[in-house]
């Protein structure tokens, strides 16, 4: 099975894959993790990451790998739990989600600056990348740091992200 994931690695940004030390085994873990969380969705986050690929797909992979690693750091292997347990665990360890949001959008910040010459604050990208403000609020209230949010640039950031997705 590792061959499947080794091939899938090629769909993503090699610079980020190297920087975050993402392996074929990590991709396998992400697919299993998302299968637990979202097996009943028509299209889940893993399927979307693989389908989109490139830098945007990579940003999703960075989010998931960061979250899984953060949980493992506190002694939790999320692959050993079912959906109901993970609802509770993710609530109790919500910093794992916020760390994942941070790494995902820090990467997107760098990519958009490099590719399009447009630099947005991380919090602005968190809001632009979501269709509601739930994650932004979780992000802004976290203890990870103080973030600047450019409310008047959200639409501009959203357009840049759409461009990155090739839409």
């Amino acid at each position: 099975m590792a061959d499947k994931y080794t091939e899938l690695l090629e769909r993503f940004d090699p610079i980020a894959i190297a920087r975050y030390q993402i392996t074929a085994k990590d991709l396998e873990s992400i697919e299993q993790y998302i299968e637990i969380l979202q097996s009943d969705f028509a299209q889940n986050v893993w399927q979307e990451a693989v389908q989109v690929g490139g830098e945007y797909g990579t940003s999703i992979i960075i989010h998931e790998v960061t979250q899984i690693r953060a949980l493992k750091q506190v002694g939790i292997d999320p692959l050993r739990y079912g959906l109901k347990d993970l609802q509770r665990i993710l609530d109790q360890h919500r910093d794992a989600h916020v760390s994942a949001l941070y790494e995902e959008h820090l990467y997107l910040q760098e990519v958009l600056t490099r590719k399009f010459g447009q630099r947005f604050q991380v919090a602005t990208l968190v809001r632009a990348n979501q269709l509601d403000d739930t994650d932004l609020n979780r992000f802004l209230e976290s203890a990870i740091g103080i973030f600047l949010f450019e409310e008047d640039r959200v639409e501009q950031a959203r357009q840049a992200l759409e461009r990155l997705k090739g839409r």
């Binding site: 009943d40 969705f41 889940n44 079912g82 993710l90 509601d132 209230e141």
Partner: protein, 105 residues
């Protein structure tokens, strides 16, 4: 009085359990409150709900999944804030503590 509608999913054994809920504010706006297993798909659901402008009773038109089910509308004798404070922990939805918004120069 506040109106809500629970969304249930099935666990590994096929047993239904409460996963998230939609709540209607006094201005009529319906929002789904979801836990962290949804990731960004929760935001997508909220966008669809708000774009459709549909009431709680018709949420199946926005989100109909054979492995999930909407329960009938419930009425709670609470304010919006009281209801979310009461329900969010039951659904493992992280509560916001504060919000700090700074404008970049």
């Amino acid at each position: 009085m506040i109106r809500i509608r629970r969304l249930q999913r099935q666990d590994e054994d096929g047993k239904w359990f409460d996963d998230s809920y939609a709540i209607q504010a006094s201005d009529g706006k319906v929002t789904c409150r979801y836990n962290l297993t949804w990731e960004y798909l929760g935001g997508r659901l909220n966008y669809q709900i708000q774009q459709s402008g549909l009431p709680l009773e018709e949420l199946e038109q926005v989100f109909d999944n054979p492995r999930m089910r909407w329960l009938p509308v419930e009425t709670l004798d609470m304010s919006f804030e009281q209801a979310t404070e009461f329900l969010d922990p039951q659904f493992h939805i992280p509560r916001l503590k504060k919000r700090v918004t700074l404008q970049a120069a």
